[in-house]
Amino acid sequence: MEALQFHHISKKFGAQSVLSDINFSVTQGEFLVVIGPSGCGKSTILRMIAGLEHPTEGSIKLGHRNAQDLTPGERNVGMVFQNYALYPHLNVYENLAFALKAARMPKFQIQNRIQKVAEIIELQGMLRKKPGELSGGQKQRVALGRALVREPYIFLLDEPLSNLDAILREKMRIDLRRIHDETQISTIYVTHDQVEAMTMADRILVMHNGKIHQIGTPEEIYNRPSTLFVARFFGSPAMNAAQIVLQIQNHQWIFSSLHHEQVISLDPKILSTYIQQENYPTELWIGFRPETVQEGIGMGISFNVTVTQMEKLGSRTHVHVKWGNDIFVYLLRHDDALPRIGDVIEISIPYSELHFFDKNQNRIELHKKEIKEINQSLRFEEENFSEAN
């Protein structure tokens, strides 16, 4: 069943449009991560679910109830705020009991609930302490407990780990996912951290400038990004991208950079579906991830580049290279031989690792079959070449 549905939601603050035509749904028990850069509208989505903001257009459904008819309190959402938003004058126990008391739950029942939650998130020793006496990680757990103790219909987390240090963040990431798996409460988790998204999500919703760019599993998002933005948002270092132009000269396909004179050798078959469209724009984007780059000529596309910079990170090295005006990055393992700055080298990327985006930065789908065919013909040529020698 759908735990939550957004139907054509738009939100404007005055004249400024924050969200436009947002549609998505969350199934019961799902862990959805909403990700995007600051100001993309992801927190607004969360606040709308909680009832702290109201959509300008469209409707939100919580199960089969219309969210618009419900006050924030009636929606039974558990929300964890970025700055925890604990009641500073109440101790941990009273913080947890706040919502239950507001709902006039009997005292013994409140005690039972708090006992149970305190065990799950390891709060037992600090129930009498005030928020001011707790560390960041402890506050975070109390905020989590306050949301959990209501046994909410849906769980909303607004960048809950962004105020914690790296080690604690890693631990909380695992804890959060464990709590979700134990309670099976539908969860919407807002973050701008791609690692959190990739490691925790059942599905990821990627936002940019108030629009949804892609919804999908972490694998889909990483392997088949639907826009150049998504492609470059996930992965570190980010995906390499360059603008290219398709031209036909003397019945021959030429792929060249849009911004400089460099040319690439690329089998046009790979783009056959795109080229078959009428009046396709000749400008497009080519993208490939740093970890798929090989040094030297391999099977696939290759670039002639100049090494400009190297970042040694211990286990690996990021090599920055220049292709005309375009900067690419690729990875070398620590035991690989390093090139020198100024070296002119050849790098190549297998056809299966290439991504193409049209002029509007939307993904151009390549078909596996085509790539396979190209690979086969290449292998054939190579064999012929070696036999001839």
Partner: protein
């Protein structure tokens, strides 16, 4: 290398900052010394004498002045009047200003909100004597605005300042009008700095208006509530100008009718400047001072147990 005056052996060097610090404090210290501490100590001193400001035949009488006061029914009456005034004024002005501040906060985002906020604060900056004279007219039993309005709706028309029952409440109404603006601004400041996310968390937690107010807003503004209670206690026990102007003014009879508005400060003034009993007035001032000090310390003691400081 920079050459410095004085040798390294000189270990008794007062840092330059200390000089600047005390230098900057000096003017205000002088003002307090001349206008507060010296007269204060002098006041305590002469309250143990039979003092004559026109000659030097002042005699030490020990606690004689206090004995006279304690045997004087009017002194007790004035203390009771002062307490009556404070006991009504402190809760009334605290609650009223908090209420107005809560209402003003609802409209804090409105364009004309700033205008309304200034209007609420405005009475506090008016001179007490001048506005009291205007209120004298408002309170006039025959021609005043209040009785005209009440009469129009066929409500009973009190005698206001002319009635022994209504004289003190009349003064209180004026004082509320004059003082509430300041406290409202203090409360409004506290309300606007409440952490927004905490209020939102309470909303999500299902807190209704009254629950939210009682369990979140009230505890979080408690430091300002304490400040307002202390300020209004001190202010109401020291109130003088409005009582003086409203109940008789320079033509005599202030504190009337029939001593119903004779507070401590009115009696002190009359004793000192009408009857020239400076030592008696000083003794009364000393008692008033001790009373205010005791009340404030008591409030502080209570506040330390109730107020939540962030």
């Amino acid at each position: 290398m920079i050459t410095v005056f004085g040798s390294k052996k000189n270990t008794f060097r007062i840092p330059w900052e200390t000089f600047i610090g005390y230098g900057l404090l000096l003017p205000s210290m002088l003002i307090f010394l001349v206008f507060y501490y010296v007269p204060g100590v002098f006041l305590a001193y002469i309250s143990f004498f039979h003092w004559n400001i026109f000659s030097s035949d002042s005699t030490f009488v020990g606690l004689g002045n206090f004995r006279i006061l304690f045997n004087q029914p009017l002194f007790w009456r004035s203390l009771l009047n002062s307490l009556y005034y404070a006991v009504v004024m402190v809760p009334a002005s605290t609650m009223l200003s908090l209420g107005i501040a809560l209402l003003l906060r609802e409209g804090i985002h409105l364009k004309r909100g700033a205008v309304v906020r200034s209007m609420v604060f405005l009475p506090h900056v008016t001179p007490i004597v001048a506005t009291s004279i205007i209120w004298l007219w408002l309170f006039d039993p025959q021609f005043g605005l209040f009785n005209s309005v009440l009469g129009y709706f066929h409500f009973p028309q009190p005698g206001w300042l002319g009635s022994t029952h209504w004289a003190m409440p009349s003064v209180m109404i004026y004082s509320l009008w004059h003082s509430v603006g300041l406290y409202t601004v203090l409360f409004l400041g506290a309300l606007t700095t409440l952490p927004r996310s905490v209020l939102e968390a309470a909303k999500v937690d299902g807190a209704k208006k009254w629950y939210l107010f009682r369990r979140v807003i009230l505890p979080l503004v408690s430091p300002v509530t304490f400040l307002v209670i202390v300020l209004s206690t001190i202010d109401s026990l020291q109130s003088f100008s409005q009582i003086y102007t409203l109940t008789g003014g320079p033509h005599g009879g202030a504190g009337g009718p029939a001593f119903s508005t004779t507070t401590d400060s009115i009696l002190i003034y009359q004793t000192a400047f009408l009857y020239q009993h400076f030592s008696l007035a000083s003794a009364m001032s000393l008692i008033l001072f001790i009373l205010i000090l005791a009340l404030t310390l008591m409030q502080k003691w209570i506040a330390d147990r109730l107020v939540f400081y962030r």
